[in-house]
């Protein structure tokens, strides 16, 4: 490409040390490193010319994001608690708070709930969003209207949706129970936010409660309502990117609609699935706002997640160091979700 040659020429013009070929033409992917050439062209190199633009935002963001994470890790090594000021004495740093978490039943329950929420919410939202996208993608009239309405809950805050859903789940006159009773399904009408169903024998298993409370599932259902529209938008973009002839080819082969989607379309939506899943999981880890409005700072053992537990320990019980340790665990969970995704993007040259 002429553009590439132009860049090479520019790179050569700038190196004034007379070397005929400069291998580090300035592309990010080049491997060669020559200190002399680097220094001499430093003054007007792209790195320096671009720095006024990216460096100030980077410093601000880096301080708040990475600086704060590092600070949080340090606090988790201290014994900072109560209303006193933290002391940062490296000699006194220890892993006491992490040991405390490992032996804390509450921590394990919160971890379990976090993973249940993460997995079921993400899977259900993806499935729901894909279903919506396929329905909306079938050349319907008023497509914009349908799309806009399905995505509407996503524009609301967790605080607002929690207020609405607390009313939806109300035992006496909430929509869900009123509809169930109206359909003659009185036995299904339940105290969705405080009731549960007895698990009988299964209750004997470790980490399985005797009574399976509805709380967490009520939360997951409400979040599904809020986020499936988002998954739909991502899948719609994916579906629209698939060329028409693939549909035709499948149809010529005599594939049924279901087979066509399963065999031909779904495998091509992998990228959409991955990116939507990552974002949904991050939202699930941020579900704090929703739980906080619905249940206050203590949702109880069946709906407590790491983010509510962290907030409660730090900002209600003033157990700052312990809260930091829980925050570090939460951060590692997020990292485990995001790092493979970012690495995959990097491998495919998408960053």
């Amino acid at each position: 490409m002429s553009l590439h040659i132009l860049k090479r020429l520019l790179g050569r013009d700038r190196s004034d040390d007379g070397r005929a070929v400069r291998t580090d033409g300035g592309t990010a992917s080049s491997k060669g490193f020559d200190l002399g050439a680097t220094l001499s062209s430093l003054r007007d190199s792209d790195a320096v010319r671009s720095a006024p633009f990216w460096l100030p935002p980077f410093l601000l963001m880096g301080f708040f994001v990475y600086g704060a994470i590092g600070w949080n890790v340090i606090i988790s090594f201290t014994d900072f608690a109560g209303l006193t000021l933290p002391t940062y004495d490296p000699a006194a740093f220890d892993l006491e708070m992490y040991r405390r978490a490992l032996s804390d039943q509450q921590f394990w329950l919160a971890t379990r709930n976090t993973f249940v929420l993460l997995a079921s919410f993400t899977a259900l939202s993806l499935a729901g969003g894909l279903g919506l996208a396929i329905l909306v993608d079938r050349g319907i009239r008023f497509e914009n209207w349908f799309r806009t309405i399905y995505l509407l809950p996503f524009s609301l805050s967790f605080v607002v949706t929690a207020v609405f859903w607390r009313w939806m789940y109300n035992f006496d006159s909430g929509v869900i129970n009123v509809v169930l009773r109206g359909l003659g399904l009185d036995f299904l009408a339940s105290k969705w936010l405080s009731g549960g169903v007895d698990l009988g024998v299964l209750g004997g298993l470790p980490l399985v409660p005797e009574v399976l409370q509805f709380k967490l599932f009520a939360v997951i259902f409400a979040l599904l309502w809020q986020f499936s529209g988002y998954a739909m938008v991502v899948y719609l973009a994916g579906l629209r990117a698939i060329p028409n002839d693939q549909y035709e080819a499948a149809r010529v082969d005599g594939a049924s609609t279901i087979r066509m989607y399963w065999r031909v379309i779904l495998p091509q939506l992998r990228a959409s699935t991955v990116s939507a899943a990552v974002v949904l999981m991050v939202f699930a880890l941020k579900a704090f706002d929703f739980l906080y409005v619905m249940f206050g700072n203590n949702p109880g053992p069946t709906a407590d997640i790491l983010s509510t537990m962290m907030y409660r320990q730090a900002f209600a019980a003033n157990e700052w160091a312990y809260g930091s340790a829980i925050a570090v665990v939460l951060f590692l969970v997020a990292l485990a979700v995001v790092a493979p995704y970012l690495y995959g993007e990097y491998r495919r040259g998408e960053l």
């Binding site: 601000l60 963001m61 329905l135 991502v234 979700v337």
Partner: protein, 319 residues
């Protein structure tokens, strides 16, 4: 050929023909509208009912003539109006700041070629996915140490919100001691918004014509000139998307406000906090709670209804 015709072609249906499977399709789509709108519809109906009415009628039924009242909205507006003003003072500058900084960063990281760029980009993008719990305690420590009010004292007294009017001089619009914490919140939101705004702008700048930028550079234009004369004017559509998306995110945030505004309430409370307090009390009944939810959500609902397509673009682009 319109998208609809293309799709009609793809699925081999006749646009005018009435086909039983299409009828089922529309029935399902309309049923889903019921699902997605029912919390909002029953919330709105409840907000328009008297206490006696909403306790006895189905939540989704419209109020009867006797049971109709606007009082819940009156209470909600009275309680939330100052918090909504605070949210506007927070969200507008924080949104503009994070969009501008994101645009700068994206320009510096797209149209230049240098080693190590990818590492910086990765750090920016990873910042999108940080669970805020991981930075909450340091944030509360930081804003306990940094005294914004004193730092800004030489330039302006931020406890007084005033405007300069010719002839009349300075007019104080409102005063209270907590504006400092709103400034803290603006800086915090701007900083945490940078990763997503950078990503949005960068995906847009990658598609800009490199030839044009190279040509400008060959003509001797500085990086600043190229940005101001070429890139910035071309960014307008992306600014719309980013501003809308960020405004919604910042308006909807509860967690940072809980941690950064002292004791979480008082005159500096933002809309989400005030709504939580309004609805968390046992005194307020469901009709007031629902009215409060609508009042607090009104700005984002308006933005969504007016600019829904741009919002969706930001959503899809943020992945």
């Amino acid at each position: 050929m319109s998208v609809r015709d293309e799709l009609a072609d793809r699925f081999e249906f006749d646009v005018e023909e009435i086909d039983p499977t299409r009828v089922v399709l529309y029935a399902v789509l309309v049923g889903l509208i019921g699902f997605y709108l029912s919390p909002l519809e029953s919330g709105l109906m409840t907000a328009l009912k008297t206490e006696a009415e909403f306790a006895t009628s189905p939540p989704f039924a419209p109020p009867t003539v006797d049971g109709f009242t606007l009082e819940p909205f009156g209470v909600a507006i009275d309680t939330l109006s100052s918090a909504i003003l605070n949210s506007i003072m927070l969200a507008v500058p924080a949104t503009i700041l994070s969009a501008l900084l994101g645009s700068f960063a994206a320009y510096g990281l797209t149209n230049f070629e240098w080693r190590g760029q990818l590492g910086v980009v990765t750090l920016f993008i990873a910042g999108i996915f940080i669970p805020y719990q991981a930075v909450l305690i340091p944030l509360s420590r930081l804003w306990a140490i940094v005294n914004t009010k004193e730092l800004l004292a030489p330039i302006l007294d931020i406890t007084v919100f005033s405007v300069q009017v010719p002839i009349l001089g300075t007019v104080e619009l409102a005063t209270h001691p907590h504006y400092a914490s709103i400034i803290n919140l603006i800086i915090t939101h701007a900083a945490y918004g940078i990763p997503i705004t950078t990503l949005l702008f960068r995906s847009y700048y990658k598609k800009l014509s490199t030839e044009m930028l190279e040509a400008a550079r060959l003509d001797g234009a500085s990086a600043f000139t190229v940005y101001r004369r070429i890139v910035l004017p071309l960014s307008t559509p992306m600014f719309a998307v980013t501003l809308i998306y960020q405004f919604t995110q910042i308006w909807n945030d509860l967690l940072f406000a809980l941690v950064i505004i002292p004791s979480g309430s008082g005159p500096a409370a933002v809309a989400t906090i005030a709504l939580n307090e309004l609805t968390g009390g046992i005194i307020q009944t469901f009709n007031t709670q629902m009215a409060g939810a609508f009042v607090a959500a009104l700005p984002t609902l308006l933005v969504y209804v007016l600019f829904g397509d741009k919002f969706a673009k930001g959503v899809a682009g943020g992945t």
